[in-house]
Symmetry: C2
């Protein structure tokens, strides 16, 4: 089992450990009991994890109070679910010495992490992410939240985990489309931070898609190191952390314009291609780079062109309402090489003229 430390300067605890392994779920509870011996544990998961057998694998015959999010997925990511979790914790007589254990994908982690952050003014959470997107991205970094009827993560907190335990074997039961879409965040990590990692992904993409444990473990290790180093430098997203938004500015607009029929990773893949086209317009391109990105996305099986039914005006309008917009127009993260983000005047998200964006949408 690999381990690495994440140092969060502003947090009380100061750092947390990420453990990566294969088939570790069966023995993980003992490890958690040892790492957090003085806490009363409470598990949050969803109905999919239960039916896939992961909750039983984690707990065995132990009698641990739990909350199963039903239905699984985004529709449950709301304040009522967070309130229900907290009320269940109160009914289990849990106090400030509790530990929330989040077993599941990004939605479970977001909801459980948020509930932990507000239960009696905050108790620690540990994440056991079980999807490609959660293992690469959402379980690390401390962003938690639930949606309102108006916007995503309207309620939320920065709440860094007390530990993250990654079992790549949990990916073997993951739905194929979810598995593939989640890989887009790994490609993003490589593009913004590590050209060797991009080479690794290109060389090993078939083994990744075949869900070979050793390759998935190495991938998790690359992802966690990259994400952790960015989060350490900027825990609450003041500037540098914005580089993680690569491909997300157009991606979020594509996701919303399509009525959320595309998965997040699928929309971000299109957004990364859009970023590549913008880079071409702004003399930030290198020969063959965008083709390499297109090719790996094609192998992964995620879209690289705009769906036919999306109106370009609507995308522009959605981008103007981006939550990170400044004067009603978003900034864009761009790269100048594979593994190096373009930084201008100390800013990791830069201005791009609206007509440039309109032009590249025509080519997308």
């Amino acid at each position: 089992m690999n381990e690495l430390e994440v140092k969060i300067p502003a947090a009380e605890a100061g750092s947390y450990r990420i453990c990566i392994g294969n088939r570790i779920l069966d023995s993980l509870w003992k490890r958690i009991e040892a790492d957090f011996s003085r806490s009363n544990k409470f598990v949050v998961t969803d109905e999919n994890l239960v039916s896939e057998g992961h909750l039983v694998a984690l707990l065995g015959q132990r009698n641990v109070p739990s909350f199963v999010i039903t239905p699984a997925g985004e529709t449950s990511k709301n304040i009522d679910t967070a309130v229900s979790i907290i009320e269940a914790m109160e009914k289990a007589y849990l106090g400030r010495d509790s530990l929330v254990v989040a077993l599941g994908g990004g939605t479970v982690g977001d909801i459980a992490g948020f509930a932990a952050s507000i239960f009696k003014r905050g108790v620690p959470v540990v994440h056991i992410p079980t999807t490609t997107v959660a293992q690469a991205d959402s379980s690390i970094g401390g962003k938690t939240g639930v949606d309102s009827s108006i916007s995503k993560n309207a309620f939320g907190a920065f709440w860094h985990p007390a530990a993250v335990y990654i079992d790549v074997a949990t990916l073997t039961t993951l739905d194929d489309r979810q598995f593939r879409a989640g890989l887009v965040e790994s490609v993003k990590h490589a593009l913004i931070a590590d050209n060797e990692y991009f080479d690794f992904l290109e060389s090993n993409i078939e083994a990744v898609l075949a869900r070979k444990a050793d390759v998935l473990e190495r991938m998790a290790d690359y992802n966690c190191k990259i994400k952790a180093s960015v989060v350490e430098a900027d825990p609450t997203e003041k500037n540098q952390r914005r580089m993680l938004n690569y491909g997300h500015t157009v991606g979020h607009a594509v996701e919303a314009a399509g009525g959320f029929e595309l998965l997040h990773g699928e929309a971000v893949a299109i957004g990364i291609i859009a970023a590549g086209l913008i880079e071409n317009e702004m003399d930030l391109s290198e020969p063959g780079r965008l083709d390499r990105v297109r090719k790996i996305f094609e192998k992964i099986g995620v879209p690289i062109t705009l769906p036919a039914n999306l109106a370009e005006d609507n995308l522009i309008d959605l981008m103007k309402r981006d939550k990170k917009a400044v004067n009603k127009w978003p900034r864009f993260v761009l790269i100048k090489e594979i593994g190096r983000v373009y930084c201008r005047d100390g800013q990791w998200a830069v201005e791009v003229e609206q007509d440039v964006v309109e032009k590249i949408l025509g080519k997308l």
Copy 2:
């Protein structure tokens, strides 16, 4: 206008300013605009503050989005109110560059501070406390929260304010019973931290009760300095901050056993007398000290004996369920002199045998 700095080591901002003055509400909005020029403001207050004219005094003719908590008081201190505030902020198109301005007593501050802490993963809050208890205690220190049907502050966060503005003139419209009960936290501050402040309160209690501005300003200054120094040393209540719990262990039980008919400060006054009786049993007394405390509470007009209808067994049972209990029995903060807390083995809340507590309840 007096000002002092509070330094919070673990927080991002690092410190915040407390401003104390008389009749500053009319001109305060300009000051807030200057101090937070880049933020979009949102005011949270309650119907009492509106009817007393304080909201108009603060805003004048300015058109600032606001939320008025109705009804005022503890019954609105729940998650639904916090959700309604956040939805109102979303409908006003507010984003992460928002500032929540909480105008009111402890309940308004707790709810508004909590809403600010979870709105889009946290936006700053400034407090304009308008009651004796909020000015002395709850507006400083960063505790926020709302109640569930099962327990107080079941949902909450440590969320330190970006600034606190105290106008002692707002106390002149406060209900007499509320005004008097709120003074108990000031007496508590003197007892745990500053014997000169206790002398000051003894000498000036008539002027305090007559709500003389100059005396109220000096009182606010003493309170803020004491509370701030304790909070700075221990922002999230790991140990030293527990001294603020003086009188609260028995006080909370008395408050709950009486079905919350006593105000918090009234119950804490009884709890402080109980602490004094425990000190007598544990050789921590000084000649005449407890009489001085009883006398100042009599002048303030808060109870110093147990209400006749409270069963002692019930109080013991409630104390066993204290949220800070260790092995089902709470620790007690005790003083050894006026202005000096008794600290044993590095602990600011110490063990007291149950039979000692049972004995003193008989004398209370």
